[in-house]
Point group: C2
Chain length 399, copies 2
């Protein structure tokens, strides 16, 4: 294809427009289509407003080749997408008996009767072609307007993902068979500033015009990425090797695994189990490890003046083969804290000073959790426990 | 004003388009402007692509009265917004000496020299009017295109918020002095399904045409809201009273305080301190309480087979005036668990069965944390500890 195909996602719903929920469907769709070789080129977000929904469908279909419209197919009165689609296309809403039958079957399988409210979910534009939802009651559908292919999808993430994977992706492939797939390489660093990284990269690497370098800063990490079309893979690979080597002192991981999941994987590979002792300021490390399925035996979130060494000794006796991570001694007045890692062979002890800006509790938890997880990562990959870091000073280090 | 004013936010950046970061600026802006009486009517999200940025500014300015463009004003090569604004308006980018002086002063105050890279942040469209950023190096600016007022703002949340509050809101007020302010009332429930709530509300309440009812479902909670223009305040108030009474058995809170912060406030009002014992499955309750600034003495995240009662006894001895919340006994095979609340006067004991769908670790943590926090809320407001809940069965309850 000579010209670029334009895919836009239309996210609907007040709760998405007003940011009361994170648009996880948007993130998932962009990532999924990217993996399949398609780039989402933009996203338009509107609330539950009929007039505006109609106008959106009419105007955005003129600007794009594909619109993936998400949300507003539920049974309640603020679900307006089917009505908007009908009106935008000068269509009637009609009851699609085919979908009524599907819903009756869906409820019967679960031992329930269908509520009359659900009938609304089978009221779809007369010209719509149904798109099956095998895991819920919100029927997907497709239409063509202004030469653009519109796919209407449910807001429930699981249903949305199933529909995109099994029904919509094959359609898009058929409509646009010849795209040059995009490539994106990512890595995550900690301990340097974005502008510092950018300066060094721009000075030391020569970056071809059609490879893009991107930066994403979210304290405590900076993500770097290279993007280009697949036809540039050879150049991408060699530039990537240079980039990874340039930032190696601060590299946490390549790809998108995440620090907690990386630590979890390393622990499992080395058949190690973990115990965590932490002040409240780093309490998030525990739920992050649990989310990442880490082999975590137990954890204690310390109060002030709790007997740290006694607890460590008790755990060492009971779990002689486990690793104990301890992040304690934070005080409100002084941003100094103690990082200990007690392994079956060795005990490491660091007194550290946080010299960065003080953020809210949530971001501070992210920062100190990351310091602890990184110490584990470094231990498990045979490196010194604390890496070079502009916002962290080593006051004392011992074994 | 007879016609509706249209405010659109234009969010820029690959990381926002691809959902790698949550667009917290979008949520903040919608909420802030709403509080001030202005509704954001839509949001357009584009990546770091010069051609598309130019096209976006040219086309979206035709559709809106105000565009608030966010992001892309930094010093790195993927920050393209100023260049796009210039090209969209057939302008030159010129060095604004006024901003160079501001940046030099900014760095001098911090004992640093300005990096040459930062000069790029003073290269702005010739026709732009600067909008001061008192807390960073990214200069805001404004322009008029196609009769639309465009405000260009930095992506760093703190800088963005300052600029909107101190510079942009006063401008919007001056441009559109006569809006009928929007009203939005919210409450959060737990333990009923969205369609069940919706059915009862639509059957039992008579809802005027120009008041909207909205639902937002995010396991384990459902949020309900009423929105209307301020001129309907009297009707809103009476409908709100009926709605709150209708859902009272499942009501967690009115407004947007959040369960952890509500519990934190109640504990502080009653001068109580808290200790938490939990299995890993509810570990998130600890970081949520800490984020909400709760009077949390300490917490322990249990491993399997840990001596629960011994720990509770020890804590009772050491902290006789504190409240102990314990959420334990989860097993992978059976979704049965034990909720205990030990107060200075009484010990409550519940065996509960979770009958809902099994989600990923993160959502399961949200669910069980909410059950624990709700038990605290109910205790602190003199109610039975476990409320009516479609996905939670009480197997046993005792004191």
């Amino acid at each position: 294809m000579s010209r670029t195909m334009k895919i836009e996602m239309v996210s609907t719903g007040d709760e998405v427009l007003y940011g009361q929920i994170t648009d996880t469907n948007a993130a998932w769709l962009s990532d999924f289509l990217f993996q399949q070789g398609f780039l989402v080129s933009s996203r338009f977000t509107v609330g539950d407003d009929l007039t505006q929904l109609i106008h959106t469908l009419q105007t955005r279909s003129k600007e794009n080749d594909i619109l993936i419209v998400n949300g507003g197919l539920g049974p309640t009165s603020d679900d307006l997408t089917a009505l908007a689609a009908a009106k935008a296309n000068n269509d009637e809403l009609i009851l699609h008996q085919e979908w009524v039958a599907k819903m009756e079957q869906y409820f019967a399988c679960r031992g329930n009767n269908m509520s009359p409210k659900n009938l609304k979910q089978a009221m779809l534009p007369a010209s719509a072609t149904l798109v099956d939802n095998s895991v819920g009651t919100a029927c997907g559908f497709r239409m063509v307007m202004n030469g653009c292919h519109l796919f209407f999808t449910p807001g429930v993430p699981f249903e949305f993902q199933e529909m995109v994977k099994t029904q919509i992706l094959p359609e898009i492939r058929q409509l646009f068979p010849d795209v040059d797939k995009p490539l994106c390489y990512r890595l995550t660093t900690m301990g340097r500033s974005e502008s510092d990284l950018a300066s060094e990269i721009e000075q030391r690497l020569s970056i071809p015009a059609n490879i893009n370098v991107g930066y994403r800063s979210a304290m405590p990490i900076i993500e770097l990425k290279l993007t280009a079309r697949q036809s540039l893979q050879a150049q991408m690979n060699s530039l990537w090797a240079e980039l990874a080597s340039l930032v190696s002192d601060n590299l946490l991981y390549e790809g998108t695994i995440g620090l907690a999941r990386l630590v979890s994987t390393l622990l499992k590979q080395q058949s190690l189990q973990l115990l965590v002792l932490t002040d409240k300021l780093a309490a998030a490390v525990v739920s992050q490890l649990y989310d990442a399925d880490a082999p975590l035996i137990k954890a204690e979130i310390f109060g002030d003046n709790d007997p740290l060494n006694a607890q460590i000794l008790t755990w060492q006796m009971h779990y002689p083969h486990a690793i104990i991570l301890s992040l304690t001694g934070f005080s409100a007045e002084e941003p100094i804290f103690t990082l200990q890692l007690i392994t079956p062979k060795q005990a490491y002890h660091y007194t550290l000073k946080y010299t960065g800006r003080i953020h809210n509790n949530q971001i501070q938890q992210e920062i100190f959790s990351a310091v602890g997880l990184d110490a584990l990562r470094r231990y498990l990959t045979q490196q010194p426990l604390v890496g070079p870091n502009i916002w962290l000073d080593v006051i004392e280090a011992g074994k």
